[in-house]
Amino acid sequence: MSFWRWSGFFDYLTNPFILGGVATTIWLTCVALICGLVLGFFIALMRRSGMAAARGMAWFYIWLFRGTPLLVQPIVIYTALPQLGIRFSVVQAALIGLALNEAAYLSEIIRAGIEAVPEGQTRAARALGMTERQIMRYIVMPQAFKVIIPPLGNSVNGLLKTTSVTSVISMEELLRRTQVLIQEQFMVLELFAVAAIYYLLLTTLWDFIQRRIERRFGHSSSSVALTEKR
């Protein structure tokens, strides 16, 4: 009996079951991120709304999702909501849990970005006759984007690893599949090493992409020229 079996390690590194888990982790991250961004954007707008009710709702949402353990949120969605007659599949519950949580954090990042754009910019755009929606789209968001990108990148890095919490509701992402194999084969260290390598690979890859995005939008604003058609 040896402590570390290289053959097992290499087998798992290319195991289709594990690779499938990696793929699931990637698309969970992507879908949760996109849903989180869209939802987070609207929550950010609500927090800045003139209507006290909208502000209150947004505040409550952020308070709820940032104030309760992330691990618990998918569990509640998957196991507790059926008691109210609301049933979701594992995939749905995992995605909803991740997206709702992500939206709470992203909305604060987006709000900070919007608030970093000086009020005078909005005033000038308004004086030119732009509607509030046009101002958001052509003036505020392109400028807010620069402020949003660095924390957004960190958030994506976190999300790549956070997807692992959905393993508690048996979502078959990387961690869950690693655990399944561990229970069959007992090569605990080798399997966790394989999982760690894939998580590191994903986060490293993302760091690389993030740096490219930051370089593109960070120091030359010239790339955001007005090329869009009406």
């Binding site: 005078g120 004086a127 732009m130």
Partner: protein
């Protein structure tokens, strides 16, 4: 009458910034508004295109009531040009794009038409060579001239200037005033908040003096400078003309 301000009163909380202000700007007139800082002059000009709301009174621009909730404000504002103290060019857009954007998305002009207008106006403010630069690459005076071109690109009925030279280094003031003088000579209707009394004297048809939210004096330029009716106006002019 292009701009008709009647009995406008505005509060910030308890503080009365504008007290029952009444005046007007006729078509082709150049009206300069002056007064001590905090007197409400900038607030008044911002009320004209509804960037600031007011509680009482009425402002009509080309016959349209600004404070009427039914008024299409974006449409009204697109017909009144405004130039700000801090230029407020859009830093993420090139000079050209700054001037083209509202023409495209507000007026719905074609790219060609918007560009033609842009080139013409840049030429007119003496910045034809700078079309593809970004605002941060220009001096304050140049940025303010672009801001004027951006407002003119909408073919406005009237232009509002809110202390257009107050944020500029002294050597850049004249290049901006020259552009404004040119506009005035061509008959543009203008309402200008400024401390540049020499400029006011040469281009204004009427002078308004505001102090503590009240229009204290509202008279033809020559009259205004030769003999002030109100001691507050005389005191203000004494302070600002003496150095």
């Amino acid at each position: 009458m292009m701009i008709e301000i009647t009995g406008v009163t505005k509060y910030y909380g308890q503080f009365e910034v504008l007290k029952n202000c009444t005046t007007h700007v006729d078509k082709g007139e150049v009206v300069v508004v002056c007064g001590p800082s905090g007197s409400g002059k900038s607030t008044l000009i911002k009320c004209v295109n509804a960037l600031e709301p007011f509680q009482k009174g009425s402002i009509r621009v080309d016959g349209i009531e600004v404070s009427d909730p039914a008024t299409d404000l974006p449409d009204l504002r697109s017909r009144v040009g405004m130039v700000f103290q801090n230029f407020e060019l859009f830093p993420h857009l090139s000079i050209e794009a700054n001037i083209m954007l509202a023409q495209r998305i507000v007026l719905g002009r074609t790219e060609d038409a918007a560009r033609r207008q842009t080139i013409e106006l840049l030429d007119r403010v003496g910045l034809a060579d700078h079309a593809t630069k970004f605002p941060a690459q220009l001096s304050g005076g140049q940025q303010q001239r672009v801001a004027i071109a951006r407002a003119l690109a909408m073919n406005p009925l009237a232009m509002l200037f809110d202390e257009p030279t107050s944020a500029l280094d002294p050597e850049m003031i004249s290049e901006v005033l020259d552009v404004m003088t040119g506009l005035a000579r061509e008959g543009m209707t203008m309402m200008i908040v400024t401390h540049e009394m020499g400029f006011a004297r040469s281009v204004a048809t009427r002078m308004i003096f505001i102090d503590r939210g009240e229009i204290v004096e509202d008279r033809p330029t020559e009259d205004f400078f030769s003999h002030q009716q109100n001691p507050r106006t005389a005191a203000f002019l004494g302070k600002i003309l003496h150095h």
